[in-house]
């Protein structure tokens, strides 16, 4: 059951990810990206990380992508015009892609030689309680640093918006 669900949603994620690049209209690409986010959330859920799954849907699919769609709609961006591809891209594109994937496989196997298959249900620390505890004990410093970073980003946004008002 777990494996079947994993295969279904992994396939959806990959197809949607492929679709993001292939589609010519920005809205279609954005919707494919939502599909990727949604199926990733299901994969998290299958692995027992329910808090992460909910956060994935709320933050990525529900907030960031809505903003993307909003901006695309606001700018009323039309379909992308296809121009002829460069000769270099036509010849080297697919071989380079495979070379890159092979390289990645090689590095993963060499850097984590002890890695084994993921067992569904083997991970039991995905609840909100566990995530919260980890954030405020083990990962307190990174957590605080990230919050300061976001604060800087917010201030930057305010400053930029202010300039346009004048």
């Amino acid at each position: 059951m777990d494996v079947v669900l994993f295969l279904i949603f992994a396939a959806i994620a990959v197809v949607c990810g492929f679709n993001v690049v292939v589609q010519s209209h920005p809205i279609s690409s954005a919707i494919s990206l939502i599909g990727v986010m949604g199926s990733l959330a299901v994969l998290y859920l299958l692995l027992g990380a329910e808090f992460l799954a909910a956060a994935q849907v709320i933050v990525y699919a529900g907030a960031i992508m809505v903003l993307f769609v909003f901006v695309i709609m606001l700018l009323n961006a039309g379909a992308e015009i296809r121009r002829g591809r460069a000769l270099l891209a036509q010849v080297l594109g697919i071989p380079l892609l495979f070379a890159f994937l092979g390289l990645m496989l090689y590095f993963v196997q060499h850097m984590f030689p002890g890695a084994r298959d993921v067992h569904f249900g083997g991970f039991k620390h995905g609840t909100a309680l566990d995530v919260g505890r980890a954030l405020f004990t083990q990962y307190l410093l990174p957590f605080e640093v990230v919050s300061v970073l976001i604060l800087i980003a917010i201030l930057g946004a305010v400053v930029l918006a202010q300039k346009e008002m004048e």
Partner: protein, 396 residues
């Protein structure tokens, strides 16, 4: 009893009750608004217009289902489907009542008790925006696009104070499961003040209750925040180009969101299925008394009819109410019916407030709407969350 079979039956019951509520909520809304505006409201189809929802359904199904040219066909067809799916999905984690004994097994009056129940509802409702935004975009119509744009901006903005307002009672309850949130609100101070989140020490959640309610109006696109479909500016907003059942899907999604939000408010702030005062004070007899009184009033007006058919219809209503009252007096059924009554009473009151406000307040202007969200609601919600956190930490 087989778990799957039981879940299937529960899902069927909840779906049936929800869809009937949606249909009749619209009747109630039209009646209430009519009386606020000193009209009678629907009165032709059936006694007191009670068959009106049925007539509306027949009308909507038999209307021509038009797909305008130059729309993005896939998204145009997918948008109403998406909206209604997301709207109906979130009811599945709402706890309607306590544990009951049925078919020789124990079960909760709730479809699924997720340990991320609150987050699940937030996630599903945040996905609901796409239905409206994409409908507006795919219609290839300026008014619809404006409606879609407004709705996505509005829903992103009001989701922040909404989530902040939800977080405060969660600090008190210390869980994300909706069932445990209600269980945590059990009990009374001094024997009569309920232990609900709105009254709970160390920090009564009055502010977050009102912030949640106001943000809920915006999230469900109800007056005074119904900018996405402001009819005197945008024709009908995002659903301008939709007809027949596709229009009905948006309509049902809006009402379904309203029901969910009211259920959510009841669960988070008003103690869910718990009674208003303890059983020692006689709260077990409240439903029976309420239905008896309603029956008596209906009977009185039936015996002194004002309109032609009242002499027949109102006594029938009275008999129905008396039967309901008797049902609540049977001790065997009480365990299951009393929680349901309290839950329905609280949710119904909130739904009435939604309708009442629609009959009372005018629409906001768009800049007022945004300024209100960012400059008032959000700071107050954050402040409330901080103070609640401090109080919980100081007086555990």
């Amino acid at each position: 009893m087989n778990f799957f079979l039981l879940s299937l039956i529960k899902a069927a019951v909840v779906a049936f009750v929800l869809l009937t509520t949606l249909a009749y909520l619209q009747w109630v809304e039209r009646k209430v608004i009519a009386h606020i505006q000193v009209r009678i409201g629907p009165s032709r189809v059936g006694p007191h217009g009670l068959m009106q929802p049925l007539a509306d359904v027949i009308k909507l199904i038999t209307k021509e289902d038009l797909i305008p040219p130059y729309v993005n066909k896939f998204l145009y067809l997918a948008a109403p489907f998406f909206a209604i799916t997301m709207a109906l999905l979130s009811i599945s984690v709402i706890p309607f009542g306590a544990e009951i004994h049925i078919f020789g097994g124990d079960t909760w009056m709730q479809l699924a008790d997720l340990n991320i129940g609150v987050l699940f509802i937030l996630a599903v409702s945040s996905m609901g925006v796409y239905g409206i935004a994409l409908a507006g975009w795919a219609s290839n119509n300026k008014y619809a696009l404006m409606g879609g744009l407004r709705s996505s901006a509005q829903m992103i903005s009001y989701e922040l104070p909404l989530s902040m307002a939800v977080a405060a009672p969660l600090l008190l309850a210390n869980t994300l499961s909706l069932r445990q949130i209600v269980q945590h609100q059990e009990g009374y101070y001094l024997g009569f003040i309920p232990h609900w989140s709105v009254f709970q020490t160390p920090m009564p959640q009055v502010f977050s209750f009102f912030i949640f309610l106001i943000a809920a109006f915006a999230e469900t696109n109800r007056i005074p925040f119904d900018l996405p479909e402001a009819e005197n500016e945008l024709v009908a907003g995002y659903h301008t180009e939709y007809s027949s059942m596709k229009f009905a899907a948006f309509f049902m999604a809006e009402y379904s969101n309203m029901v969910t939000v009211c259920c959510m408010t009841t669960t988070l702030f008003l103690g869910g299925w718990l009674p208003l005062w303890p059983a020692a004070g006689g709260s077990n007899f409240v439903p029976a008394i309420v239905f008896l009184l309603a029956g008596a009033i209906a009977l009185y007006h039936g015996l002194n009819p004002v309109r032609r058919r009242d002499g027949f219809t109102l006594p029938v209503v009275a008999v129905v109410f008396f039967l309901l009252a008797v049902l609540f007096l049977i001790p065997a059924l009480r365990g299951a019916l009393l929680p349901l009554f309290w839950f329905a009473a609280k949710t119904g009151t909130l739904l009435f407030v939604f309708i009442w406000i629609r009959g009372t307040l005018p629409r906001f202007r768009y800049d007022q709407l945004m300024a209100f969200a960012w400059k008032f609601m959000f700071p107050v919600a954050v402040l409330n969350l901080l103070v609640t956190g401090l109080m919980v930490a100081l007086f555990p």
